[in-house]
């Protein structure tokens, strides 16, 4: 064999360090934490928080495939999430009995509906410039909310749909105690969703590191050049959008399983879901996938614990009235936190930290 090129040496070196790097331990540690949460913090609030972080991290990562890897701003991502939630809800709630087969079928239908819709949207609007794509997807997302609300015979309208889980995933199921924790259907659902999200995340990592993922980055960088190389850029963008939207729909289905209830506001809402996704993606860092985890964790944790802060303040500083007034308006604090993050981490938390580490090397 010929002498190794510097590129090959670089990759060998990288491979050698793969399981010793700080990043690797961080990922394993994080996964271990999520696995252990029900045992360490068995309260409903923390388990629910961990679950929300896991699901939204995956959802934001799928949005990042569009925004960060393909350079497309879609306001319809929350809609795909909602479509997934509704598809599963239809099968194990409104129109079917809770069985494993119906649950699985719900996910299959969610993926099919999402892919067909994503392809249609791609064909309708990808040829237009970025800002118009954003506007068109926003309009479609708003339309979806109107449809879900008005077609109440079909969708349950504002009242929404309640879901019931089959067999070992049912709320009432219990498999006895294990290490001091009662293994209920909820706990098993937690692990099922954790596993599913892990699988989806790994699939997205592979997608972005595939030859196709590399072409997407090239397209984002210079469309004309990519076209001149012979890539049909439209096909690549359509595939990327479809993939991201299918993942979003699957996460939506998982969300429905966990929350046990879907309605237009909580699943399709542009403000409640879409804006949160966008913020999490920007806070975490675009074009990194892992940014989704950081962004979701930051968003969910502050949103969960900031309201509690006012009680703490009242207990410890009973006389600081101004502090109480500020903390009562905790959305204000949240807003200031967002602004600080955007100022000090212009490339998102992951992006800016990576840049910092690279510069130190």
């Amino acid at each position: 064999m010929a002498e190794a090129t510097p590129v090959q040496i670089f990759h060998m070196e990288e491979k050698r360090r793969q399981y010793r790097s700080g990043g690797f331990f961080l990922k394993v540690g994080l996964l271990a934490l999520f696995v252990l949460v029900p045992f360490l913090f068995p309260s409903f609030k923390t388990v629910d928080l961990a679950m929300q972080i896991i699901m939204f991290a995956t959802l934001v990562a799928s949005f990042d495939i569009l925004l960060g890897y393909t350079g497309i701003l879609s306001f319809g991502h929350g809609m795909f999430f909602g479509i997934g939630a509704y598809c599963v809800a239809f099968l194990v709630g409104k129109y079917g009995t809770p069985s494993y087969a119906n649950l699985a079928l719900g996910f299959v239908i969610a993926a099919l509906v999402a892919s067909v819709l994503a392809i249609v949207i791609s064909f309708l609007s990808l040829r237009v410039k970025a800002i118009f794509f954003a506007m068109i997807t926003l309009a479609i997302a708003e339309l979806a909310i109107v449809l879900a609300t008005k077609l109440s015979g079909f969708t349950g309208g504002e009242d929404g749909i309640s879901l019931n889980m089959p067999g070992i995933l049912a709320v009432s199921f219990s498999a006895g105690n294990f290490l001091g924790l009662e293994i209920t259907g909820r706990i098993l659902t937690y692990y099922f969703i954790l596993l599913a999200c892990l699988g989806l995340f790994l699939a997205m990592l592979r997608f972005t590191h595939s030859p196709l993922g590399r072409v997407l980055q090239a397209i984002r960088d210079n469309v004309e050049r990519a076209e001149a190389l012979g890539y049909k850029t439209f096909i690549f963008q359509a595939i990327s959008i479809t993939f991201g939207c299918v993942v979003a729909a699957l996460v939506g289905g998982l969300y429905g399983m966990w929350v046990g209830y879907v309605n237009p506001e909580s699943c399709l809402g542009v403000l409640s879901i879409m804006l949160a996704i966008l913020l999490m993606c920007i806070i975490g860092g675009m074009g990194t996938l892992y940014g989704g985890i950081v962004g979701a964790a930051f968003f969910m944790i502050t949103e969960t614990f900031l309201p509690d802060l006012q009680h703490l303040a009242k207990d410890f500083f009973p006389s600081a009235v101004f502090l109480h007034n500020v903390l009562e308006r905790w959305h204000l604090v949240l807003g200031v936190l967002f602004i600080l993050v955007v100022i000090f981490f212009p490339k998102g938390i992951i992006g800016s930290v990576r840049e910092f580490i690279d510069r130190r090397k």
Binding site: T5, V7, H11, S210, L212, D221, A226, L229
Partner: protein, 258 residues
């Protein structure tokens, strides 16, 4: 040896294009022999780039035909001609600025091999693409910069990278539009050396458009001179240099003493 029995890679027959009343290219009969390097020179506005664009398919001619190895390709578009082995560079630098130098070339090789739609393998699984990319970077003297983002290269290095991208598409015929345009004096010799190397390999036909005649004198096998859209001379560099018509039209007489 191919040099003794040259056969035409590209021929144009009475190639003409009019923009409104203006005849930009006027009945040009040009012949580019396989595995040779031909340069097109001429003063500003002589129609060099227009002729170039006609041959590569950016423009459709008003009259005349273009033959690729005897086959009429006049009606084919850019993409179809690219697939037939014609690769061109642009006057303006056209690279992927945020990708690394290596990735710029790798992604081009991937395009040629048609691996782009693979989404289930890690791209490093196809390590031979990176090896080939590195090898091409060596040819254009850029291998030491492989890990840099392309945007951090100097202008001259970016032009080299462009040639590398072009080479990775492995075209039979290379079309280079002013490869030294906008380059500093120090950067020009390196580009000329790269072109010389590609030419010396004698496995590609090259067509060069150049404004500065002295640059391509030693490099070219043959030189065609355009003036006002017409071909006024075509021959070996020696002949062109001595030709009085060329002297009068292009060199302005005084250059010979330079």
């Amino acid at each position: 040896m191919t040099k003794k029995h040259p056969f035409p890679a590209i021929e144009t027959k009475d190639l003409t294009i009019r923009f409104g009343g203006h005849v930009a290219v006027d009945h040009v009969n040009l012949r580019i022999d396989s595995f040779f390097l031909k340069s097109i020179i001429g003063p500003n506005g002589a129609g060099k780039t227009t002729l170039f664009n006609l041959i590569t398919g950016q423009y459709q001619p008003s009259e005349g035909r273009i033959l690729l190895k005897g086959k009429d390709i006049t009606k084919l578009g850019v993409a179809a001609r690219t697939r037939l082995g014609m690769g061109r560079s642009f006057q303006l630098t056209n690279i992927f600025p945020l990708l690394t130098v290596l990735e710029n070339v790798r992604v081009a090789i991937q395009a040629r091999k048609g691996l782009g739609l693979n989404f289930w393998r890690n791209y490093l699984h196809f390590s031979e693409l990176e090896d080939e990319a590195y090898h091409i970077l060596e040819q254009v003297l850029l291998e030491e910069q492989w890990a840099k983002a392309a945007i951090n290269l100097t202008h001259g290095e970016q032009r080299k990278l462009e040639i590398a991208i072009l080479l990775s598409l492995d075209p039979e015929i290379l079309f280079l539009d002013e490869p030294t345009a906008g380059m500093s004096q120090e950067e020009v010799p390196a580009i000329l050396e790269i072109l010389q190397r590609i030419k010396d390999a004698r496995d590609r036909t090259m067509l060069l458009v150049e404004h500065k005649m002295d640059l391509i004198m030693s490099l070219s096998d043959t030189i065609a001179v355009l003036q006002d859209g017409r071909l006024i001379a075509d021959g070996e560099p020696e002949e062109i240099y001595k030709s009085e018509a060329v002297q009068a039209a292009y060199l302005g007489g005084g250059v010979k003493s330079e």
